[in-house]
């Protein structure tokens, strides 16, 4: 799957749109899959993540449940469909596929700790799905179409009282995507659910909030972009302050975390706020910066989840709690990985998180927004730094006397996958130039929706190879 995703990335990097029309029905009538730069980027991001999480899982986390791998692959399938589809309702279906798979994965491994967060997660997402349908319904009831390109054509033509309806519908979609992305005040389901999930699942879930962000980035610039007349930039005035508050909340949560996984779970929320703030400002630079940071943070957070799990497995009763305990096994290896992850996540040089934040900081035009964004982001980084240094030094360095009841040593699959995933941040630094060029081009492509609209004119054809592959 990684290979095919990379092939698609290469295909998409020329800036063209490739479509696959199911049943060869001309859009907007049939469902189309649309491959553009953004879709390809998300596919590669997910494929890489999926690969390493899967290797990790095959190192023992998949035990006791034959369904694990199936659910895992279905989850990836859902993600891939979500990234490729060019149809609003099909996006809903893709969301459902990946959600139901995630429900199953979340509950994987049993144990009572997961039940309640799982229940909350499922319930809230069911309400989210209901909202999604209402939003789609409203938009369909005004425009009479579901194809996103067609919507981009039709939304600017909405007039009169229908404007109110579309506004309400669009805002509902924003809430749904915000729920998936875990933006405040819709983020509280996340920390416990992620912190208690099995590590490879939590790591894979690092991309789940990004689906919400993806959906915002996909739908809003396209449909409610600059050209949408009265509906232009719908909801973005809400999004910006909320993103900053989310960022702040994430930082507070991270600071107050009592276990590594909780810390990382709040890091997910920090990333969400960090990502959405520049997105809400709507500039090409902001979007580009956010996409760059998105790649970095997704892999980093996933790596940190895996590291935390390894720490749990090597630390006996103390698990990943931020308390003092007897010395763990493989301390050097794990502490180095944690250090790398923390530096990348905290946005310190020289790892990729820093470059993402740098791009975000640079993307804002001078003004009130700049003051807010800089202030919150930098103060947030400072507090995150304290949180990570505190957690790391207690967990890895503060050892009490005593004997660790010889835990099982790590196996190679687990340690190698964790290591590589965590160190991907270095690869991003090395490739920072090409990646930022790519995200820049992606942001430009997203900003100018004429290309996307053109797929309506593209005559459908049968592509040489199928676009979706469901194997890893």
């Amino acid at each position: 799957m990684l290979v095919s995703a990379i092939v698609l990335l290469v295909l998409a990097s020329d800036g063209s749109y490739r479509i696959y029309a199911f049943g060869n029905w001309q859009p907007p009538f049939g469902i189309v899959l649309v491959l553009d730069r953004l879709a390809a980027l998300m596919l590669v991001l997910t494929a890489v993540l999926g690969l390493f999480c899967h290797i990790y899982a095959s190192g023992g986390a998949d035990k006791g449940n034959r369904q694990f791998h199936t659910l895992f692959l279905f989850q990836l399938t859902g993600l891939n469909i979500a990234f490729l589809t060019g149809d609003l309702f099909n996006l809903f279906v893709a969301f459902e596929v990946l959600l139901i798979a995630s429900y199953g994965l979340l509950m994987h491994g049993g144990g009572t700790a997961r039940t309640v967060p799982g229940l909350h997660y499922v319930t809230l997402n069911l309400v989210g799905s209901a909202l999604f349908l209402i939003g789609i319904g409203i938009i369909y009831s005004v425009t009479g179409t579901l194809n996103m390109a067609d919507l981009a054509v039709k939304i600017p033509q909405v007039t009169g009282n229908n404007l109110n309806l579309v506004k309400a519908g669009g805002m509902m979609l924003l809430v749904v995507f915000g729920l998936k992305a875990a933006i405040l005040p819709l983020c509280f389901w996340l920390p416990k659910a992620y912190a208690r999930a099995t590590a490879p699942v939590a790591a894979l879930f690092a991309v789940m909030t990004k689906v919400g962000i993806y959906a915002i980035v996909r739908v809003f610039p396209l449909i409610f972009g600059e050209g949408a007349g009265e509906l232009a930039n719908l909801g973005m005035d809400w999004l910006f302050p909320l993103a900053l508050i989310t960022l702040g909340m994430g930082v507070i949560g991270a600071l107050g975390a009592d276990s590594l996984k909780t810390l990382v779970a709040w890091q997910v929320i920090i990333s969400v706020g960090t990502l959405l703030a520049p997105i809400a400002l709507g500039s090409v630079a902001g979007l580009s910066a956010a996409l760059f940071y998105l790649v970095s943070t997704t892999w980093t957070v996933a790596g940190l989840f895996l590291v935390s799990e390894l720490v749990t497995s090597q630390r006996g009763l103390a698990g990943d709690s931020i308390v003092t305990a007897p010395k763990m096994r493989h301390r050097t290896f794990l502490s180095v990985l944690f250090l790398i992850g923390a530096v990348a996540a905290g946005g310190l040089p020289p790892l990729s998180g820093f470059f993402g934040k740098l791009m975000i900081l640079q993307s804002v035009e001078p003004g009130v927004e700049m003051a807010w964004l800089w202030g919150v982001l930098l103060v947030g980084s400072f507090l995150t730094l304290i949180a990570y240094s505190r957690a790391g030094s207690i967990v890895f360095w503060w050892n009490v006397d005593g004997h660790q009841e010889t835990p099982e040593p790590m196996n190679n699959r687990v340690s190698i996958s964790t290591g590589i995933l965590t160190c991907l941040t270095m690869l991003i630094v090395v490739l920072a130039g090409p990646i930022s060029d790519y995200t820049r081009a992606t942001a430009e492509q997203l900003h100018d929706n004429r290309g996307y609209i053109n797929i309506l004119q593209t005559p459908v054809h049968v592509p040489q190879s199928p676009l979706v592959e469901e194997s890893n």
Binding site: V93, V142, L165, K167, L378, L385, N399
Partner: protein, 874 residues
């Protein structure tokens, strides 16, 4: 290429060092020295260019969009610092070789040390501000790891964290400052920035940028009020302290101010912020240093004080002051490094650093004592030593500040006062350690001279102190000139490096300081007594307490918001939706579109009434669960009728089947659950929820009404036209499902399949205890399988299968289809289960399921299989 190489080499060395771990300590030490030697060799050829006042620039593009490039730039200032870093670095490595104990992780030590060195070199050699910032933060990070090298010591961990927080945090401010400067100048290249000084200073954002940059510099250079991290960083192994606090880490802030001097200095803001901070730091550090009983503590506060001195000099804004500052950087680095090393030797040999216990070491280690006394004398500003020269320049400059009126007296007085303190603590270092009676209760006794080679670095440094003190022009003249020229942008004032400038006011101040200091030291007990009246604050403990207070607060705050209550989360979700839609909906109002309302026929009206009443009744009587379930099934039934009423037979059928299966599933669940919901919410909460629900309901009503009465056209005309010719069926809904939008259906089936898998997986670990009787206290009836039901259930299955086949086969042209067919089969099977039980039924179907509720899975599978079968023909 050579400049990047200089920076890169230590990092390569850091990677290589652990590889030499096999070869023993010596191998690592040698391997670690190689990068510095090569780097020195690489810098050497550039001297001719620099001596002529030029700069060397090696630049490579990296991230042009960010303004970030691999620019390395060498000028006098950079060279001066690079030399300090490299030479003292080499000495530290040599020293460390003897300092570190056998069991310690030498590889890690050298590796980190080299990383740190590389980062420092990066700072001084960067030709791009962003690049410099990267190295800047790297020094924070690597110094954090170095300070906490002895991770088992709590003080080391805490000191390191505090250092990281202060310097790393300052780095973030610096980042903001640099970005602002970059915004103003339009480039982050040092050459551009230095050339744009006037533009920067004229810009409205200059005060902000200046403040941010200075925050970075002050935190790094331990200026008041951020000075407190530095003494606690003394928890590091002594070679590290020697390195960090003489030549490198803390000098980075000084370097930054000197580096950006042409761009930022020369304004009133600069003057007041920098010089006053420096002055405060100078005095405070010197004062506290006197009272430190810890040898390294004394040195640390003395470092703080000297850093304040340099800062003050830079802040004065005169060119001569800047030269003096640069000069003092060199001098301080040499004497402080040697003093730290001496302190390390003493610590090493006596096992303690407490000056109350260490006395009279002259008798045990005269060689070391001589070296330390010379260095300390330099620190105290004794003539013929380098410390004296720069201090004289400082005294001279303090007299040159043109402050109005009585204020003109302030700088010289403070300078003299600081001088007095400096002499006092230097005297203490000499007298209290090497004389002053006999040692008290030393952990190691008697102390010896250290290994021969451990003294070499100290000797070299002390030699440098003397050389500079006696022959300043020859020894550092050209280097200082070059550095000063780089700092001042080429405008070097006339100055003279001489041992004695004649009898003048500065010399008088020096005398006052010298004798005042000695006097103060002789009366030290009074001062100690005076000082003891104030409670000493352990900044580390305060910082730690502050952090844990914050952590607790954050934890409590998080717990208060994220309180684990689904009710709250769901409420937030609903309220969010209401909040973001309320404005458009109020604008919309109770709007009826141009299509207007159509007439109501009263059966529909009554059905709608029934639906509304049942829905509301479900909510009202939800606590009686079975009753609510019955009401819910009425709602489901009427919804199905509604679909039928408004031309959707397929939907009606699907809704019916799904509804019954859902109700059966809910009843299965209800068996295990309490049959009655306790009253848990408070009245306020219920009223709140009712209000929220009403608002949500009203919102949906308003939306639906507006939507239904608006004219509309959709893409569906295409489906109606192409269903038969293109999709081959007359039931357009089903053709859409399996053809036009077949991919949705595939996804839908996938959802069903995954749900089955998930349910199955979940049930495997679920142990439910069936209750013994119903909620009224009745035991369950013994009558499991009533006769009549059993009899009717038998023929029902074949009939249902046939109806399924019928509904399935006609789906493409008439209402029906795979999913409904599947559900009918499922329902017929449910009937078998109800009538005859699990075991009986399971014996007769080819699948096996282990648990009661696994049936849900079975139904889903059958339904999914049904719709899959109907979807594939497309």
């Amino acid at each position: 290429m050579s400049l990047p190489l200089v920076v890169l080499l230590p990092f390569l060395g850091a990677i290589a060092a652990p590889l030499f771990a096999q070869g023993g300590r010596t191998a690592i030490a040698i391997a670690s020295s190689v990068p510095a030697l090569i780097a020195l060799a690489a810098l050497f050829p550039h001297w001719s260019v620099l001596a002529a006042g030029g700069t060397v620039l090696h630049s490579y593009e990296w991230l042009p969009a960010l303004g970030l490039s691999f620019s390395f730039r060498l000028d006098g200032l950079a060279l001066l610092f690079a030399l300090l870093i490299l030479v003292i670095g080499l000495l530290v490595i040599l020293y460390s070789h003897y300092y570190l104990k056998a069991h310690e992780n030498v590889a890690k030590f050298y590796s980190l040390l080299l990383c740190f060195k590389g980062s420092m070199l990066g700072i001084v050699l960067s030709g791009n501000l962003l690049l410099m910032l990267i190295f800047w933060e790297l020094t924070s990070l690597t110094s954090f790891l170095l300070i906490s090298f002895w991770t088992h010591k709590q003080d080391a961990r805490r000191g390191a964290r505090m250092a990281l927080a202060i310097t790393g945090g300052g780095g973030l401010a610096l980042l903001a400052g640099i970005l602002l400067i970059g915004n103003i100048v339009g480039s982050f290249e040092l050459d551009d920035v230095l050339a744009a000084g006037d533009q920067i200073k004229a810009h409205a954002m200059y005060p902000v940028a200046l403040t941010l940059v200075l925050l970075g510099a002050f935190t790094k250079s331990a200026q008041f009020p951020f000075h407190f991290w530095l003494p606690h960083a003394m928890q590091a192994p002594t070679p590290i302290s020697a390195y960090l606090h003489s030549a490198t880490m803390v000098k980075a802030g000084i370097f930054l101010m000197a580096r950006l001097y042409p761009a930022l200095a020369g304004t009133e803001q600069w003057f007041y912020m920098v010089s006053f901070t420096g002055m405060a730091t100078l005095l405070l550090g010197a004062y506290i240093a006197m009272f430190k009983h810890d040898l390294k503590g004394l040195l640390a506060y003395s470092t703080v004080s000297h850093l304040g001195l340099i800062t003050l000099l830079l802040g004065m804004g005169t060119q001569l002051a800047a030269v003096a500052a640069i000069f003092h950087v060199i001098n301080h680095a040499t004497f402080k490094a040697s003093l730290f090393m001496a302190a390390g030797i003493i610590d090493h040999e006596t096992g303690t650093r407490d000056m109350r216990r260490i006395n009279g070491l002259w008798r045990y280690m005269p060689h070391t004592a001589t070296l330390a006394m010379v260095a300390a004398a330099s620190m105290g500003g004794v003539p013929l030593l380098n410390g004296f020269l720069s201090k004289e320049m400082f005294f001279a400059e303090s007299l040159q500040l043109n402050l109005p009126g009585l204020w003109a007296w302030v700088p010289p007085i403070i300078a003299t006062l600081a001088g007095i303190f400096a002499v006092a603590y230097s005297a203490r270092f000499i007298h209290d350690v090497f004389f002053n009676g006999k040692p008290v209760d030393l952990p190691k006794f008697p102390p010896h001279e250290p290994p021969r080679y451990m003294k070499i670095p100290v000797e070299i440094l002390v030699f440098a102190c003397i050389m500079v003190g006696v022959f300043p022009t020859i020894s550092v003249g050209p280097l200082l000139y070059s550095a000063a020229s780089a700092t001042l942008g080429g405008n070097v004032p006339d100055y003279e490096l001489a041992v004695i400038h004649g009898f003048n006011l500065p010399l008088l101040m020096s005398f006052m300081a010298f004798f005042g200091g000695l006097l103060m030291y002789s009366q030290r007990q009074r001062f100690f007594d005076f000082h003891a009246r104030f409670k000493e604050i352990d900044e580390k403990a305060v910082f730690e307490a502050l952090v844990s207070k914050f952590v607790n607060l954050a934890n409590r705050f998080t717990g208060w918001l994220e309180n684990g209550s689904l009710q709250r989360y769901a409420m937030l979700l609903v309220v969010s939706v209401i909040a973001v839609t309320v404005i458009p909906l109020i604008n919309n109002g109770f709007y009826i579109g141009e299509n207007g309302l159509s007439a109501i026929d009263w059966p529909t009206g009554i059905a709608a009434g029934v639906l509304m009443v049942s829905a509301l009744a479900t909510a009202v009587w939800h606590r009686e669960r079975f009753y609510a379930l019955v009401l819910l099934s009425v709602v489901g039934l009427v919804v199905a009728l509604t679909f039928a009423r408004f031309s959707a037979p397929d939907l009606a059928m699907t809704q019916l089947s799904v509804e019954v299966v859902t109700i059966v599933l809910l009843m299965l669940a209800l068996y295990y659950m309490p049959s009655w919901t306790p009253m848990e919410s408070s009245k306020t909460q219920r009223i709140r929820d009712i209000l929220i629900a009403l608002v949500a309901g009203t919102g949906m009503t308003v939306i639906t009404l507006a939507m239904l009465t608006q004219p509309f056209s959709s893409i569906s005309a295409f489906f109606l036209e192409n269903s038969k010719p293109g999709g081959g069926g007359t039931n357009v809904v089903n053709v859409i499902l399996v053809d036009f939008r077949g991919f949705d259906t595939l996804g839908e089936i996938t959802v069903l399949a995954i749900a089955s898998l998930g349910i199955y997986a979940m049930l495997k670990n679920t142990a439910l205890t069936p209750p013994p009787g119903d909620g009224l206290g009745h035991a369950w009836t013994r009558d499991h399988y009533p006769l009549m039901l059993k009899q009717i259930a038998r023929p029902m299955l074949p009939l249902a299968l046939m109806v399924s086949a019928y509904i399935f086969l006609r789906g493409h042209n008439q209402p029906g289809g795979g999913f409904i067919a599947g559900l009918i089969t499922s329902v017929a099977l449910i009937l078998q289960y109800i009538a005859s039980g699990m075991i009986w039924t399971q014996d007769r179907i080819p699948f096996r399921y282990h648990n009661v509720i696994g049936l849900g899975l079975l139904f889903a599978t059958i339904a999914g299989a049904g719709s899959l079968a109907s979807a594939t023909p497309s």
